[in-house]
């Protein structure tokens, strides 16, 4: 009887694994098959053509995504790592509990809600959609992921390493900043990279913050295009060529995210 249950559980688990893997494989194959056919050099270098004309590319969205993701990372990384250091190394009391609770809440907030939030506090007062609003929304989405990954990484640093540095006559804050963070650096970098990969594909929070733009802009207080938003608007359009370009954009976005994930894997492997 016990053997039977054993077998049953094993079969269920194996089946689930196979199911998950095949769904993933299907998605990737589908995107690759469509994307490879759709992608060309124009896609990376040309601006969108006027409605109805074939050809053109999405350089505006690519540049826009790069700008907003970079900006979001620059805003959120210092805040998140700072908060994580506080939580892991200093925070003991009531304040730490509150911060930790807020981070948990933030992690659970749907990204569209964060978009609306930024819309209310940035877009409405500025009376304009803008890249900075988009970046801010992405930054907020990034914070809980980076805080949690960093806090986890810092907690894994052995206590004796802190004590060893203290025993050399180092003040605690220097031990934390110079030894603990250094020891945890590759896990922290991995966490940051994964968070970047995540926000690179966010669509909802950009819809009413950065909006989108058919032209290439690099100033931060104007509406700006991004790959996910452009994929969305092209995919729901009635034009075949726009569908093709949406596939190309999806393909490049997935490749970007895969590359980040693979490099993170590589990071960990070289560390151990």
């Amino acid at each position: 009887m016990r053997k039977l249950i054993d077998k049953f559980v094993f079969t269920i688990c194996s089946l689930s694994t196979v199911l998950v893997l095949s769904i993933l494989a299907l998605i990737i194959i589908y995107i690759f098959a469509n994307g490879v056919l759709a992608i060309n050099l124009d896609f990376f270098t040309k601006l969108p053509k006027p409605v109805g004309e074939d050809g053109g590319g999405m350089v505006n969205a690519i540049v826009g995504s790069i700008i907003m993701v970079t900006l979001a990372a620059l805003i959120s990384i210092p805040i998140s790592i700072g908060a994580a250091i506080y939580l892991s190394e200093f925070g003991k009391g009531f304040l730490a509990t509150i911060v930790r609770f807020l981070v948990d809440v933030l992690a659970g907030v749907p990204s569209i809600v964060i978009g609306i939030f930024v819309y209310t506090i940035v877009v409405l007062p500025m009376k304009r959609f803008s890249a900075i609003a988009g970046a801010l929304a992405l930054a907020i989405i990034m914070i809980p992921t980076v805080v949690r990954a960093t806090e986890e990484a810092l907690r894994l640093v052995p206590q004796t390493l802190r004590e060893a540095a203290l025993a050399l006559g180092a003040p605690y804050w220097r031990v934390v900043l110079e030894i603990v963070v250094l020891s945890a650096r590759s896990s922290i970098i991995s966490g940051v990279l994964l968070a970047i990969a995540r926000i690179a594909g966010e669509t909802a929070p950009l819809l009413f913050t950065a909006l989108g733009n058919r032209f290439l802009v690099t100033v931060l207080d104007r509406p700006m295009a991004s790959l996910p938003v452009q994929i969305y608007s092209y995919a729901v359009s009635p034009y075949d060529d726009w569908h093709r370009q949406a596939w190309a954009a999806t393909f490049s976005l997935v490749i970007f995210i895969l590359l980040i994930n693979l490099s993170v894997r590589f990071f960990f492997r070289t560390k151990e």
Binding site: T160, A165, L168, R174
Partner: protein, 288 residues
């Protein structure tokens, strides 16, 4: 009823201890005259608590300078706890509480005006598991020197690194690869690097908590030789579970049991004519 019993036990043990300490004091005083020894580290009526749980019971102890003292005793008897009160490393444990005094060169290190950071420079510490920083060999040693601003120039810094590595008998093995990661060293080399790092900040006392327990016999031998050499300049206190090691390297031995200091004396005496039955039982391996 139980409580009463325990109290009685405590008082009887305490009085025994007081007697002991007197004896130790007397024999030490004789020695002090003979060898002109100065007391470096002294515990006065030290009690230690982890929250409600008492881990050390009124420890009294005088450790002379420029000597090696071994702490022995069964697991959980409070050796590490006591060692860590000597550089206030226990301060970072939230629930920890200390009563009594630790005197370092006649100064109470638990006095309110003491600079704990500087105290920890003066009382270095080496751990059971080696703790190299994820930096180069060179930078591992430089870290403490820079933090304490001990070097005035680049050349002086390099000299200090070289000297520390030589003192720790590691120089010849690493002089050609000072810029390699310290994590690439063997366990024994890492442990000597940690000792070198400690020596570089010019401490007065060096605490070692089972520094060899993760090492093979050859690496252990090297560290033991090193400890014996360190005695020339430093006061070394080492926790060990290895009776042979205690008798090989130490001048004095302290035997702990259940948070109490049972006996402290010259190592030779402890290992040949222990005064306490418990000490004898332990070193002859009858329990522990």
């Amino acid at each position: 009823m139980l409580v009463k019993n325990r109290n009685m036990e405590n008082t009887s043990l305490e009085s025994k201890e007081v007697k002991e300490v007197k004896e130790v004091k007397e024999s030490k005083e004789n020695k002090e005259e003979a060898k002109n020894l100065k007391v470096e580290v002294e515990a006065e009526n030290l009690n230690f608590f982890y929250g409600e749980k008492q881990a050390l019971y009124s420890i009294n102890l005088k450790i002379p300078e420029k000597s090696v003292t071994a702490f022995i005793g069964p697991s959980g008897c409070g050796k590490s706890t006591f060692l860590r009160t000597l550089n206030r490393m226990n301060d970072i444990i939230v629930s920890a509480r200390v009563e009594g005094k630790i005197l370092l060169n006649n100064q109470n290190i638990y006095a309110p005006n003491v600079d704990v950071v500087d105290l920890r420079r003066r009382v270095g510490m080496v751990f059971q598991k080696s703790t190299p920083f994820p930096k180069s060999i060179f930078d591992n040693i430089v870290y403490g020197i820079k933090i304490n601003k001990l070097a005035n120039s680049r050349t002086e810094l390099q000299q200090m690194v070289e000297q520390a590595l030589k003192q720790a008998a590691l120089w010849d093995e690493v002089k050609d690869r000072l810029n390699d990661s310290a994590l690439a060293l063997s366990g024994g080399q890492q442990q000597r690097l940690c000792i070198a790092r400690t020596l570089a900040v010019m401490p007065e006392v060096i605490l070692m908590d089972e520094p060899c327990s993760a090492l093979d016999p050859i690496a252990t031998e090297k560290i033991e030789e090193l400890i014996v050499e360190l005695r020339e300049k430093y006061t070394v206190i080492i926790v060990t579970h290895n009776m042979q090691q205690a008798s090989r390297v130490s001048d004095y031995t302290a035997f702990f049991l259940l948070g109490q200091l049972i006996e402290f004396d010259e190592t030779e005496k402890i290992f040949t004519y222990p005064k306490e039955k418990k000490t004898e039982d332990y070193i002859t391996g009858r329990f522990g």
